[in-house]
């Protein structure tokens, strides 16, 4: 794993979580979509918040595709869940929201999961052909 590859994972986390946040902001502005009128989901794209969210999600998609081109899906998934920790920390220190004990426990579990995966190889190929396989 090079610095460049870590930056791709960071870009996924930042673009993905900010993109979702902007989508939510836009959809709150537009109000609930009726089950009988799904076309409103398409016209929602013209809302500036939703449009900005879509742009960020395109950035997320580019970073995600790039990550999957050199790492396994089961490696990339836990690595990017740090985004939830990022959002929680942001809401504590920037938005000054109260974070419950349950949420802190969630943050600790996610971080330890990421720490476990962080020590492993990022592709199945490398596991098979690594030094351990030869021994």
């Amino acid at each position: 794993m090079t610095l460049r590859k870590y930056l791709v994972l960071v870009a996924m986390v930042v673009f993905g979580s900010l993109g979702d946040l902007l989508l939510k902001r836009g959809m709150s502005q537009l109000g609930p979509i009726s089950v009988h009128d799904w076309t409103h989901a398409i016209t929602a794209l013209f809302n500036p918040w939703v449009a900005a969210g879509v742009l960020l999600l395109i950035g997320f998609f580019a970073a995600y595709s790039s990550a999957l081109s050199w790492a396994d899906l089961t490696y990339v998934m836990p690595a990017t869940s740090l985004g939830y920790v990022f959002i929680a920390l942001l809401s504590v220190f920037v938005l000054r929201e109260d974070v419950s004990l349950t949420r802190w426990l969630g943050i600790i579990l996610i971080s330890s999961g990421v720490a476990v995966i962080g020590q492993s190889h990022n592709t199945t190929d490398k596991v098979a052909h690594g030094p351990e396989a030869i021994l």
Partner: protein, 126 residues
């Protein structure tokens, strides 16, 4: 009733995201390291190689279904419910699908990491 609608959208998102993720991962394995391709042949060549792959186009179709379902879901429910609930369920379905369809070696360490993250995301959703 609204809760039933919200959870229906979550189930649709989990299924479409899992199929999309598997197709995208398969496409990217075929294309190879995009960063390397960009440095050796330029950004245009990397984008072209990725976008002209059949699995990639199929993946985009499933992600589009997931995206519009997300918009509808967010118009009904909180971000802090929809996103963590979808993500934690997708962790489990993706790990199983990656083992079955991609032949990824999901060893003990990866299962432990997946379960820890999945539980953590569920707690965040509370």
């Amino acid at each position: 009733m609204k809760l039933v609608y919200t959870w229906s959208t979550i189930v649709i998102m989990v299924l479409s995201t899992t199929v999309g993720d598997i197709l995208l991962a398969r496409a990217m394995k075929q294309v190879g390291d995009l960063g390397l391709l960009r440095r050796t042949k330029g950004l245009g060549a990397a984008v072209k190689a990725a976008m002209l792959n059949a699995d990639m186009l199929a993946a985009l179709l499933f992600f589009a279904v997931g995206f519009f379902t997300l918009l509808v879901s967010l118009s009904w429910a909180d971000l802090s419910l929809v996103v963590p609930a979808t993500a934690s369920l997708t962790f489990v379905t993706n790990a199983i699908a990656a083992k079955l369809f991609l032949g990824e070696k999901v060893d003990g360490r990866r299962w432990i990491a997946n379960i820890l993250v999945c539980l953590g995301v569920m707690l965040l959703a509370k």
